[in-house]
């Protein structure tokens, strides 16, 4: 029951966003220059932004971009973390130390500056979609060390369990043991790691966007829309400018309920 409610809420949000994009008469980039910062109307149900772009469509697109990007990035980061953690757990001690040192080194890097650097290395003509893909790829590339540590710990504990020793004694090779026995056991560890990464990456993209370094215009993103909140002149003009932050918090709470559920199960 506790799982179904947030899942249903999330599905409802995604379906609503997709339907909004499919059936809206406006493109997310379309500028209605006669309706700047318009309030709620038949034309624009939640008003428009500073360039006359339909806020409902942009929030819907941002939700899908954010969720898709963060989910893909979380999957990649969990995969990297799983490979790295397992490699360290089943390697000789000296190699494990080196691998763990590398992961610690990654953890200590100033990720924000790395993100900024990676973003600035993009060619200037990179399309908004390319900037979105790059942003989430960079997040994925930098987000794995903490997960890798957790997976390493779990794998090391399982490595010396009786059933693993028995498997070895029966002549199973390490790869077979990992594939057939270890991975199913570690699934309860991968899932919460993945679920923790999704909201973390959404928030990271929002923070980057708020710094002007995230997804390129005119593709909507949480970060770019949150920038509006930095201007009290805009806040005074329409209450709908709060819509992105409210929706973002709702999405994060839903995702958080998944990850805490996953963590409890694990």
């Amino acid at each position: 029951m506790t799982k179904r409610m947030p899942a249903a809420a999330l599905l409802l949000l995604i379906a609503s966003a997709a339907l909004t994009l499919m059936f809206s008469r406006y493109d997310y980039a379309h500028q209605d220059r006669d309706a700047i910062m318009a309030s709620s109307s038949e034309e624009h149900s939640t008003g428009t932004d500073e360039l006359g772009r339909d806020r409902t469509v942009r929030v819907a697109a941002a939700l899908l971009v954010g969720l898709t990007g963060a989910t893909a990035a979380a999957a990649i980061t969990t995969l990297i973390a799983a490979c790295f953690g397992l490699l360290a757990a089943f390697s000789p001690r000296s190699i494990a130390i080196v691998l763990l040192f590398v992961s610690d080194l990654f953890l200590s890097l100033p990720w924000l500056f790395l993100l900024m650097m990676a973003r600035s290395l993009l060619p200037l003509t990179a399309s908004p979609v390319e900037t979105a893909v790059t942003t989430f790829l960079v997040l994925a590339a930098l987000g794995w060390p903490a997960c890798a540590r957790a997976i390493y710990r779990g794998a090391v504990q399982l490595r010396y369990t009786e059933w693993m020793i028995y498997g070895h004694a029966c002549g199973l090779r390490t790869q077979q043991l990992i594939r057939l026995h270890l991975l199913p056991h570690l699934r309860s560890l991968f899932l919460p790691q993945f679920l923790i990464c999704v909201p973390a990456f959404i928030v990271a993209e929002a923070n980057l966007g708020a710094l002007g370094l995230g997804v390129g215009e005119p593709l909507p993103s949480w970060g770019a829309m949150l920038l509006e909140l930095d201007n009290s002149a805009l806040l005074a003009r329409s209450h709908w400018v709060y819509l992105p932050i409210v929706l973002l918090v709702v999405v994060l709470l839903i995702l958080e309920s998944f990850s805490s559920e996953g963590g409890t199960n694990a």
Partner: protein, 543 residues
């Protein structure tokens, strides 16, 4: 879980930044005026000023021989009772007022004036104003008596009078970084990152019509604050007396809350413009260089941009569409007969077709089959520019051009523009501190590093650039106003024809003044609201 809530709090903090607790301004002393400067002054030495915060301090503290009246744009005698320029323009004679004193009580004589001028002209000082004298090393100053100063110039300098507005007279051999001055105020206290406090010069020479010694204000406190939200909140609380250079969206907010405080003076001297990289050393593919060098391409882009929309939306109506480099606010030099490409997307499309471009679906291609795609750089943190760039993106999409907008922090932007020439198009503004076109020479001469679309040309790359060079040199050297005006008009027309800079808007001068202030005479020239600081006073208890 806690971590995530921590992130929520971070986001909430961002979201509610506008309502965040405001820091307290420093306490105001009785009779003191207060406003904001954006950053710490780099220097208090009036001879070495090269940025706005230091310039503001120099203006408040430095006594000058002549002061440019910011409303009439004519130099007026200050410490000098009178001055005379010889017919050849190579000798200027100043006569000082009787009984002048520095703030410490010492007498101010021609020796102090000569020392101050020589110091500014000396290469070791590296005073930015020295270059305006064309050959500063050859300028000589002598003092026949205690009240007379003669400045000999090797050759005529057009508009030489205004140069003395930038030379603060200091005690000879006792430079004090604003502590001992001949201007209305002296530097009393400076706290890095917090404020600069000036106090009244008790020996200031000037009196009002009733014989009351000026300045009226007992002092000035300039808080160092680079946060518009705080500045406006503190202005509304009465902690600050004025705001110069308000962004348009904040102007409207302030107008709603304090309608009697705000003023829109109309178009400023500043412009916002878009240009393409035409540098021969730019690391761009040849086909892209060919677009940017093509006049038809530039004119088509110019024609497709809806400037009225830019002014209305990006500046909330507080800007004026721009078609040339001299704003209509500059009534003396603006070319009223300027012919510029009219706004028409259809005509722009036809011009591109005639130039060999063709369209397939929503994409424009050049004659060699390359899709027309380019990026527009602008600086992060300037909402109006980012909005303009997004609007231009849509305007040019109507021609089939695919434009990406890239915002970079200022140092990264300047690195690409000035050093690497690594960009395709750029959207930035130009601030013109004074109306005379001679001050814009560094932008128009083809040999200049600030000739943005193609910097530091060894020889002019095109005939029209050679013509601009010639006309700008002519206006800078010819004493006849009519000849100068004709030359500047010609340059404006060439620029309108060739569109090396595609002018977009002239942002309006937006100001806010406390109803408690008396004697403010707003001007579009810097320092805008406080150019007549001696005559401004705060009337307590009349909000």
């Amino acid at each position: 879980m806690r971590n995530l809530y921590g992130r929520f709090l971070l986001l909430a903090g961002l979201a509610l930044g506008a309502h965040a607790a405001l820091s307290q301004a420093a306490p105001r002393l009785p009779g003191e005026l207060a406003w904001v400067i954006r950053y710490d002054p780099k220097t208090f030495d009036p001879a070495k000023v090269d940025e706005q915060a230091s310039e503001m301090v120099r203006y408040m503290t430095g006594g000058v021989l002549l002061r440019l009246n910011r409303q009439t744009q004519e130099p007026e005698p200050q410490l000098a009772e009178s001055y005379n320029v010889s017919p050849q323009g190579t000798l200027i004679v100043f006569k000082l007022r009787q009984g002048l004193r520095f703030s410490d009580g010492a007498a101010l004589t021609s020796a102090d004036v000569a020392w101050s001028i020589r110091r500014v002209l000396a290469p070791a000082t590296q005073a930015p104003v020295a270059e305006e004298f064309l050959s500063p090393a050859e300028v000589t100053v002598d003092t026949p008596d205690k009240l007379t100063i003669r400045v000999h110039l090797p050759k005529r300098v057009i508009g030489v009078g205004k140069l003395f507005d930038w030379i603060a007279i200091e005690p000879a051999d006792r430079p004090s970084e604003g502590r001992v001055t001949s201007g209305p105020f002296t530097v009393a206290e400076y706290k890095r990152g917090q404020y600069v406090r000036l106090k009244r010069n008790p020996n200031y020479w000037r009196r009002d019509g009733a014989g009351v010694q000026l300045p009226y204000a007992t002092g000035v406190r300039m808080d160092i604050l680079n946060n518009r939200e705080q500045e406006i909140a503190l202005f509304l609380r009465g902690e600050y007396d004025l705001i110069d250079g308000l962004p348009a969206d904040y102007f409207n907010l302030l107008t709603q809350k304090a309608p009697k405080s705000t003023r829109d003076l109309g178009a400023s001297l500043n412009s916002e413009q878009l240009w393409f990289n035409q540098s021969s050393v730019a690391a761009l593919p040849d086909f892209e260089k060919a677009w940017f060098l093509n006049r038809s391409f530039r004119v088509s882009v110019s024609q497709a941009i809806h400037r009225a929309d830019l002014a209305r939306i990006a500046y909330d109506g507080h800007a004026t569409p721009a078609f040339g480099f001299i704003s209509p606010a500059n009534t003396i030099w603006h070319n009223n007969n300027l012919k510029y490409p009219h706004e028409s997307t259809a005509d722009a499309a036809r011009m591109l077709e005639a130039a060999g471009f063709h369209r397939s679906g929503n994409q424009l291609y050049d004659g060699t089959g390359h899709p027309v795609k380019f990026s527009i750089l602008t600086n992060a943190g300037n909402a109006a520019r980012q909005k303009m760039a997004a609007m231009i993106q849509q305007d040019l999409a109507a021609l089939g051009m695919q434009v990406t907008v890239v915002t970079l922090d200022f140092p990264a932007l300047i690195e690409r523009l000035m050093h690497k020439q690594d960009y395709e198009a750029c959207l930035l503004g130009v601030s013109n501190a004074e109306p005379d076109p001679s001050s814009m020479m560094n932008m128009w001469l083809s040999s200049s590093p600030n000739h943005q679309w193609n910097p530091s040309e060894k020889t002019p790359a095109t005939e029209w650039e050679a013509e601009i060079d010639k006309q700008m040199q002519l206006q800078a050297s010819n004493p006849a106003q009519s000849t100068r005006k004709a030359a500047v008009d010609r340059v404006q027309q060439i620029v309108a024809d060739q569109q090396p800079f595609i002018y977009l808007v002239y942002p309006n001068v937006l100001q806010a003044v406390s109803p408690q202030l008396r004697g403010v005479q707003p001007a579009i020239l810097s320092p805008g609201l406080v150019w007549n600081i001696e005559s401004i006073r705060r009337q307590e208890g009349s909000r």
